[in-house]
């Protein structure tokens, strides 16, 4: 890590499903170049199906690129690298385990000693506001609370890079804003690099240091916008005049791409 400026780098990354020239092949992503700065909060927005989740999969080591290079901390990504945590959109809590056991699961798997597990689990559960639910099962919790469990399970592993694939997609707007505040608090506290995939322009602008705007499929970055927000921001910045301006700028870039996507889907544009 010493001397590294970037947590992760993608150079000319392309992902094609099926054989590149064969029938039924799908060029999902790229070529994409991206440098994720150490400790930054980076969001990716783009039309549906543009390859945002594929991009996250490549960074997580869940999906190898068809071409190009993907690196984490200066090393090529082959399989899931140590130091990466992922939070998915879907509920990934284990329904047969209590909240505490869910949060401790990854630590038990990597052989952390019992006292340390207890300490980290207590901290993560407290941090995510789950203390009174530590012995509850996921089925007894709301969707938002279950997503907190998944975030806490990632947090305890102290990842150096956290990848979030629309983690608040299933939540209502108010809960999303509050979860966004908690995510910012987590980011500040851990110092981890965060990459967030989202459909919500508000969420991207509110949370991020930089927002990458992707084209329609095959997804490429058409712009990367610096928000210039202070590090100790929270959801109240949605009231700032600059928030609307940033939002408008991103939408301007995204509008044409979204229309392109709608046309490929056979939906009439405005």
């Amino acid at each position: 890590m010493d001397g590294l400026e970037y947590a992760a780098r993608l150079s000319g990354v392309t992902r094609v499903y099926g054989t590149a020239s064969g029938p039924g092949s799908l060029h999902a992503l790229g070529p994409v170049d991206l440098d994720l700065r150490l400790g930054e909060f980076f969001s990716v927005v783009g039309p549906s199906g543009c390859g945002k989740s594929t991009l996250l999969d490549v960074l997580a080591g869940l999906n190898p690129p068809s071409a190009g290079n993907a690196e984490f901390e200066g090393k090529p990504i082959r399989g899931v690298p140590d130091g990466i945590g992922v939070v998915f959109q879907e509920d990934a809590s284990f329904p047969w385990l209590t909240v505490a056991a869910n949060v401790a699961f990854g630590l038990r798997e990597n052989g952390t000693d019992k006292a340390e597990i207890r300490r980290r689990v207590d901290y993560a559960i407290g941090f995510m506001g789950l203390t009174q639910f530590r012995d509850a099962y996921p089925a007894q919790l709301s969707g938002g609370m279950r997503q907190r469990v998944c975030i806490a399970r990632t947090l305890v592993l102290q990842p150096r890079m956290i990848l979030l694939d629309e983690p608040f997609g299933a939540l209502d707007q108010q809960t999303r804003l509050l979860m966004g505040d908690e995510l910012l608090r987590l980011w500040r506290e851990t110092g981890a690099t965060v990459l967030l995939i989202t459909h919500s322009l508000d969420e991207a602008v509110m949370l991020s240091d930089r927002v990458g705007v992707m084209s329609a499929r095959p997804g490429q970055f058409i712009d990367v916008i610096e928000t210039g927000w202070p590090k100790d921001r929270d959801s109240r910045i949605v009231a700032a005049p600059r928030f609307g301006a940033l939002n408008g700028r991103i939408w301007e870039k995204l509008r044409a791409e979204t229309m392109k996507h709608m046309q490929t889907q056979g939906v009439a544009g405005p």
Binding site: I84, A92, E109
Partner: protein, 249 residues
């Protein structure tokens, strides 16, 4: 839902009372059916005398062995079939049509292979029960949420540990359905086989009593089987409900 057990008990009680009254009033001949109170008294006498203890233990032992083999073998076979899409495509139509074949037609084959006795009986019961477990395993594995498998990968779990600690618990509700069906089929397979190819066990004892016009003994033994199967099924039902309540939102 809250009053379901009460309603079920009410229906059974009403039917038993109706049968009792019909028998006592002479609407049903005693040579055809005896009053439920006589069946219960007969069952008590049979258990107290100890005459059928060996037959009871033999039958329950065979059911336990057949259930165990079917559950373990069906699970392993289900996992193996699930692992190969090609093999699955080939075998799945046969699994779907399996219960259209009366398994008992194979009893001569098993008698030749295992002789007359528990071996052939367990084999027929396994043949009847195992497919329910295979089907339940395939169903369960198809329904493992993809996000849980991906989570196991993100946690860098070795494949075997992921299978044991993530995939297996995720399939448990479906496996439990297979366990219940396998045990039910094992009971049917063992007792029906004892009727036709055994000189021992509860099935044989019922057939023997029937052939010798010992109605009281026959109904006592039949009541015993109904009670045992009901208790086993009710226990599995309670376990299943607890499991579902824990796992389902």
């Amino acid at each position: 839902m809250r009053y379901r057990p009460l309603a079920s008990a009410g229906v059974v009680t009403a039917l038993v009372l109706a049968l009792e009254v019909s028998c006592r009033a002479g609407l049903l001949k005693k040579s055809t059916i005896i009053p439920p109170s006589d069946m219960a008294a007969s069952l008590w006498d049979l258990l107290a005398s100890g005459v059928y203890s060996h037959a009871i233990l033999l039958t329950l032992g065979n059911v336990a062995i057949a259930s165990g083999i079917s559950i373990a073998g069906g699970f392993v076979a289900g996992v193996a079939i699930h692992a190969s899409a090609f093999f699955r495509r080939g075998i799945e139509p046969y699994l779907s049509a399996y219960y259209a074949v009366p398994t008992f037609i194979f009893y001569p084959v098993f008698v030749v292979l295992f002789g007359v006795g528990s071996g052939a009986i367990v084999a027929i019961a396994v043949m009847l029960a195992i497919v329910a477990m295979i089907t339940a395993t395939l169903n369960g594995m198809d329904r493992i949420p993809r996000v849980l498998t991906r989570t196991a990968r993100v946690l860098r779990m070795p494949r075997l540990r992921a299978a044991l600690l993530v995939q297996l618990p995720a399939t448990t509700p479906y496996l439990f359905t297979g366990v219940r069906l396998s045990i039910a089929y094992a009971f049917i397979g063992v007792i029906a086989s004892e009727f036709i190819l055994s000189g021992d066990g509860l099935g044989y004892a019922i057939a023997y009593a029937y052939n010798n016009f010992e109605n009281r003994t026959m109904y006592g033994l039949m009541l015993l089987i109904v009670v045992v199967v009901s208790v086993v099924n009710a226990s599995l039902d309670i376990l299943d409900r607890r499991l579902q309540a824990r796992l389902r939102a």
